[in-house]
């Protein structure tokens, strides 16, 4: 059995707790980095992370991109979308096709 985690600033992720997801509020990059590795080791198959937080630990997220677990998915935080999710999509297309075709 796998679990689902949500990481991000407190206000953005608090609501997910009501749904029964495991919520890990993180504000700082160093803390988030440590938390992410911990989650990846501990049976979390899907980790949702706010774009605001993910922009600070992009290298770590990149590391898990080619692994089957965990799937790290960017979601917009409270302050709105930064367009990082879209740009991740674009970079994946660029990687596969060799050119941006969207």
């Amino acid at each position: 059995m796998y679990k689902i985690a949500v990481m991000g600033d407190r206000d953005s992720v608090l609501g997910f707790r009501a749904l029964g997801l495991d919520v890990f509020p993180c504000e700082e990059a160093a803390e988030a980095r440590r938390q992410l590795h911990q989650l990846a080791r501990n049976d979390y198959a899907v980790i949702y992370i706010t774009e605001q937080l993910s922009s600070q630990i992009a290298a770590e997220i990149q590391r898990y991109k080619d692994e089957v677990t965990p799937a790290i998915i960017l979601i917009p935080g409270k302050t709105g979308s930064l367009g990082l999710g879209e740009s991740a999509l674009q970079s994946a297309v660029e990687r596969a096709v060799g050119a941006d075709i969207l």
Partner: protein
């Protein structure tokens, strides 16, 4: 590859020819694999784009509902209300095989099946806005899970396509031309050897013929001399 010297022998030629055939067959197969992966990938990218837009829009709605709720309620109350969730979610992961790439498929189970059980608090001390916010979140959750599945699939496929593309290109532009070049070199060299051998044989034959002609003439001359002496 280019710097290594190759022996211009028939055995080497046969070996290279089989390797070239294998390379060409592998190239064709990998190219088909790449094309099929690409077709699937583009479908998934399109789906992913749609889902992401949908999820982001719905999440923003949920967030704004939460902002309203936190404006009405004190932060301590909000925290308290959400502190102990009634619901818990666990995830089941299966794998689907797309062109030998294992991609995950998620299904989630909620511990509590009643959809109205998502509110982990009593209604007396919380505002109605919080109910709306939690409801909005639970609506978007199904799509979020699908997004996770599609996005991971897309990443894994992208990686596989990149790998296959590199292999196809390496075979097409480096390995196969290299084999062609070496095969050509060996067959040229062998032909050249053949020709020089023929030329040498012809030369030897000429020399032998000349020798025989000389010998015959010598004999003739000797016999003529003998005949001459006998007559005298």
């Amino acid at each position: 590859m280019a710097s290594t010297t190759i022996n211009p022998t028939r055995m080497e030629l046969t070996r290279l020819k089989t390797r070239r055939t294998t390379a060409i067959r592998g190239h064709k197969l990998l190219k088909d694999k790449r094309d099929e992966l690409m077709r699937q990938f583009l479908d998934i990218v399109r789906l992913n784009k749609e889902l992401r837009q949908k999820v982001e829009k719905k999440l923003m709605e949920a967030h704004s509902a939460f902002t309203v709720a936190s404006a009405v309620m004190s932060p301590e109350m909000l925290e308290q209300a959400l502190c102990y969730p009634k619901q818990s979610v666990s995830l089941d992961m299966k794998f689907k095989n797309i062109m030998s790439v294992n991609v995950p498929e998620y299904t989630f189970h909620t511990a509590n099946d009643d959809p109205s059980e998502i509110f982990p608090y009593g209604f007396a001390q919380t505002s109605g806005e919080l109910d709306d916010a939690v409801e909005a979140l639970s609506e978007v959750f199904q799509d979020m899970l699908e997004l996770a599945q599609v996005e991971k699939t897309m990443q894994l496929l992208a990686q596989e396509i990149e790998k296959t593309r590199r292999r196809v290109n390496a075979l097409e532009y480096i390995m196969i031309p290299e084999y062609e070049k070496n095969i050509k070199y060996i067959s040229m060299k062998l032909d050249e050897n053949e020709r020089s051998n023929t030329a040498r044989l012809m030369k030897v034959k000429d020399m032998m013929l000349e020798e025989q002609v000389q010998k015959a003439e010598e004999k003739k001359r000797l016999r003529a001399q003998e005949r001459h002496a006998a007559q005298q």
